[in-house]
């Protein structure tokens, strides 16, 4: 008869220690998961990511915040990056590239070949996964016809009926460029460098502005409830998403044109599970996923092979010089807050 196996207290303690400290690492090592930092746009975690997770058997851990805060988090963890992929606006990606916290996209992202060069800036340091439309949004009950021109916002009938987004948010470039365009008679795509004249013109808009807000969800809610008529300027990711859900809002299509917001995605330098990050970005650019992006985020796809879902179309969008914007953003924020926002 075999004697029962005896486990000494020392063996038991060593085994317990291994189980407690080692097991989670073993499990974590086997988990196909990536940490993605990006915008807090509706549709990402509830529609787009589950599709990618199922298709590539990966778990996406997502943190939604604005691009500059996202960059600050990556900078803070530069020595030991935790994020694999970052989704930010181009002006912030310009800064990320300068600080060497993102890496050039590799050729393994095969769908890059079908994206035009303008949508993969700096020789594919990052790629635009879509181009949301940015102009202004309006309450469609108060303004069933919308506005024909950005300049209509200066009309006295909108006194205390406009909420502007803070210049700290990239989308605030839309009213600034529109104002600069009016002041200098230059088309929108050439007006950004005249932003000083735009500030002067925006000062004339102050009587119509009830608030300059950096809280986009609150501003959106006030637009939908009729507290204001115009919101300058969220992009189509928010406005048309909410319109599709039945909110009385719509995207302005002014005669001067609509700006393309650059929604970029990049690999974080030294981030964990780079292979999954590459698969993630490649999937974002897949023509089928791009079609899903078009109807979920109401944004123009960047893969030229994408077939747009029926009923969805986009106007020709106006691209801005985002590097110039990145270089001058702090000065724009300072002047905007002193001369437009302040009491």
């Amino acid at each position: 008869m075999a004697s029962p196996t005896r486990i000494s207290r020392r063996t038991f303690a060593a085994g317990s220690l291994l189980a407690v400290t080692g097991f989670p690492n073993i499990v974590r090592g086997q988990t196909r998961e990536i940490f993605v930092g990006g915008p807090a746009s509706p549709g990402l975690t509830d529609i787009l990511f589950p599709v990618i997770e199922r298709k590539h058997n990966m778990k996406i851990l997502f943190e939604g915040t604005n691009s500059l805060i996202n960059l600050e988090k990556i900078r803070a963890n530069k020595a030991r990056p935790t994020m694999t992929v970052t989704m930010m606006d181009d002006p912030v990606l310009v800064l990320a590239e300068r600080e060497k916290v993102i890496r050039k996209l590799p050729a393994d992202i095969t769908n890059l070949a079908d994206v035009p060069a303008a949508a993969k800036p700096r020789d594919a340091m990052w790629v635009n996964w879509c181009q949301p439309m940015c102009s202004f949004s309006y309450n469609s009950r108060a303004l069933p016809q919308g506005l024909a021109s950005y300049n209509d916002a200066w009309d006295r009938k909108f006194r205390e009926r406009i909420i502007m987004i803070s210049m700290r948010i990239t989308q605030a470039v839309a009213p600034l460029v529109a104002a600069a365009s009016y002041a200098t008679k230059k088309p929108l795509d050439q007006a950004l460098k005249e932003w000083g004249a735009g500030i002067e013109r925006l000062k004339e808009l102050r009587p119509n502005v009830i608030q300059v807000s950096s809280n986009a969800p609150q501003a959106q809610q006030l637009l939908e409830t009729g507290e204001c008529d115009l919101y300058m300027a969220p992009d189509s990711r928010t406005t048309l998403f909410r319109k599709a859900q039945g909110a009385p809002v719509d995207q302005g299509m002014p005669k001067e044109g609509v700006l393309a917001m650059p929604a970029g995605v990049a690999l974080v330098e030294g981030g964990p599970n780079q292979d999954l990050g590459i698969a993630f970005i490649n999937e974002m650019l897949n023509p089928e996923t791009q079609a899903l992006i078009a109807r979920t985020f109401w944004s123009k796809p960047t893969n030229a092979k994408t077939v747009l879902p029926q009923g969805i179309s986009f106007p020709e969008l106006i691209a801005l010089d985002w590097e110039y914007f990145a270089d001058n953003r702090n000065a724009m924020i300072e002047r905007f807050e002193r001369e437009v926002s302040s009491r």
Binding site: E160, S166, Q218, L222, E227, I333, S341, S342
Partner: protein, 293 residues
């Protein structure tokens, strides 16, 4: 007046400070270690950052803040916000604390719940709730219109009224709690004695009640002022960028324009304001004889 002075011992007088070791002080060690790690070290780093720019030692951050009328105005906004919030909290909180200290039984429980349960709700939720209340189709406009005070809904959202309303809503319990703790220790016989000596209610309040509850007023005022001068979420949500505060400048400096020296300098100035207030209040709660109440 003699009556009040003689009975100031409603709170035990502390023994004069002596620099001898008391083993009981060791109990405070875990708390002190935690505060050193969680508060003192980051504050020291912040102070260090305020004196350093890319080229080394520099006072540029302080020059920018204190030499620019725009930033002086923002410091003024924060002080105005803190002063008005503290004053309104005191005016509203004093009678509430008095009632809380004097009533007994179920009503005391109900009052306690009404005053302190809101503390369990997130400031963001409370402030968003206030925005909904203050919309043109909100409950406040509904009541004002239906009670005949105004003919049609008025704009309340994004006004300074909504800001102060929201600030008092958030910070009132921090005024009531210290006031209540002092008032409940106040011997009611002192008020009877004052009345029996011929003092009217106003005279009794001014010469007996008010002096005896001054430690609560100073503690509550200091607490509310200190936290409201640093308020970030409530002003940001209720009045936005039109009413910039010191905290908003710090957030902008660190998260947007990445001027860390500007953010650190503004933070140190805020710290100095709060520390000065706390030191002043510590001085004020001393009795004329130099003993702490």
């Amino acid at each position: 007046m003699t009556l009040a002075r003689d009975d100031l011992a409603v709170m035990p007088a502390a023994a004069p400070a002596r620099w001898t070791f008391d083993a009981k002080a060791l109990i405070a060690v875990p708390g002190l270690v935690f505060m050193a790690l969680a508060f003192a070290v980051p504050v020291l780093m912040l102070v260090g950052d305020s004196f350093v720019d890319r080229d080394g030692f520099s006072l540029a951050g302080y020059r920018k803040v204190l030499g620019d009328p725009y930033y002086i105005g923002i410091i003024g906004n924060s002080l105005q916000l803190a002063c008005i919030t503290t004053a309104v909290c005191l005016a509203v909180g004093y009678p509430a604390a008095w009632a809380l200290a004097r009533i007994r039984g179920a009503w005391q429980v109900i009052l306690f719940a009404l005053i302190f349960l809101p503390l369990t709700v997130s400031i963001v939720v409370k402030t968003f709730g206030l925005t909904i209340m203050m919309r043109r189709d909100g409950i406040i406009n509904f009541l004002l219109v239906n009670l005949g005070f105004i003919e049609r809904p008025m704009r309340l959202v994004f006004t300074e009224f909504s800001l102060y309303f929201g600030m008092v809503n958030v910070f009132l319990p921090f005024m009531i709690l210290p006031l209540y703790s002092v008032m409940r220790m106040l011997d009611p016989r002192l008020l009877d004695a004052s009345a029996s000596l011929g003092a009217g209610p106003v005279h009794t309040f001014l010469r007996v009640t008010l002096p005896l509850t001054m430690p609560g007023i100073i503690a509550g005022g200091t607490l509310v002022f200190s936290i409201s001068v640093a308020a970030y979420v409530t002003p940001g949500l209720l009045v936005g960028d039109r009413f910039m505060t010191m905290s908003q400048v710090m957030a902008k400096a660190y998260l947007n324009i990445r001027d860390f020296q500007l953010g650190a300098s503004m933070a140190v100035i805020m710290l100095v304001i709060s520390a000065a207030l706390i030191l002043a209040s510590s001085y004020l709660v001393r009795t004329p004889g130099g003993e702490r109440r």
